[in-house]
Amino acid sequence: METDPFAAEFYAAAERGDLVVQMCDSCATLRHYPRHRCPKCLSASWHWTKLAGTGYVYTYTITHRKFGSIPDVPHGVMTVQLDEGIKVVSDIPAEQLDSVEIGSRCTVYFSPLQGVVRPRFRLTE
């Protein structure tokens, strides 16, 4: 499991069914991937905040070779632009590979990958 403390808390929240990112206590700026300091005001003070878990497909790629941890091919990976402005990466459900497009709406669900519950996204019809 991750020894990175930010990642441990991020995935612990996923275990509870929450998609969280850091919010600055001083200026309320959201940020992801996690860092110590606010990118806007450099404050060291922050808290985890829950996101709605909805967004759209910013981009995606369909992989046809079983590199590293890829379980099966073809394998889809997408970058989701969440409604709050943050981008995250997710696998694409196998049955949705043919319908994914930039701009498709998607929603979070929580499910294990490589032994850890993670936020994952599916296209919403």
Binding site: Y33, Y60, D91
Partner: protein, 390 residues
Amino acid sequence: MVSRGELSGRCAIAGIGQTAYTRGTEQSTLELHLEASLAAIDDAGLTVNDIDAVMPHDLADRITEDFIIELGLSDIAFSTTLRSGGASYMSAVQSACLAVATGVANCVLVPAGRRGYSEQRLSTSALKPMPTMHNLDLYERPYGGSVVPVQMFSGAATRYMHKYGSTSEQLGRVAVTFRNHAQWNPRAVMYGRTMTMPDYEQSPMIATPFRLFDCSIETDGAAAVVVTSSERARNLKSPLVLIAGVGEGHSYPPTSLTEKEDMTWMDGLHRAGKRAYEMANMGPADIDCLEAHDGFTWFILAGLEALGFCGKGEAGPFVEDGALDMHGSLPTNTHGGSLSEAHVSGANHVVEAVRQLRRDVEPERQVDCETVLVASEGDFYDGSVLILTK
């Protein structure tokens, strides 16, 4: 106080060296580096006793002490390793210029290369773990994304193509053009292996939109240059090749594509280009020939825009019109590039630029050039740029 512009023309590339580029080698990464280094030192008409600085390359995992012990470099005055992935090589040339221009060092050896076929294949996970990939390990690779470079940039290319209406033919044109150039380059791994557009379109899809022929080749080999002052280089054996401009630029944020505001714009490379142009007191219109990092065909489209050769979103049509061909408006990767000559962490692009200016390449691919720009991209849109003149 020395200003950036005053560095222009103060340094030269006095020597170049290359190993053969192969698929399969008995030599270790270090042995390849040593061979290329000795060739560069000899090409400069110097000896190992003249070398007083060395810049080992980050991705090759070599250290200064390797070169000190093996080449007998008894009095190194300056050494540093840059860590910006593929952009490291020309950032190292910049550091070499700083050392030479200030008199901190006199003859700087800058080697690079890898066993990219026999060991560290970019198409596998057998890459050196890099601290910059930390967030990918935590938040992308568990999903089967960004496992290897082709997947990291395929998403960026997809976004770019969606945004600007680019076509696969435009990517293919880059691949075919550089493969054509390699047919005049006996040193190229793809020498003798032609590629037509149908060949490109039928090559297997790896990660959309990148097919096999969109990806740089996995090869073994190393190359090196020696940087000295212009005064010193004038008295050495090869035609003078001056460093008119050099620049380094870093992307923000640098640790993933996901975090970037705009995944389609190579901001670090753009900044590197601006700095190099400023030092050289030049612009894109002054460039006769381009040797640009082509880890993937799409890097050339994004690179042309970042370097100001065309506007945002215009690189596809620019390429389609034949600009990059040997007789086009901007001959590019005249050696075949990383797509068709070899992947040597960008060092072979610098060597090719020097050979072009020396008029030392096969006649079919000789450009009548006065000024050559070399560009490298590394990590996530960091960049380094070199402008060389006769």
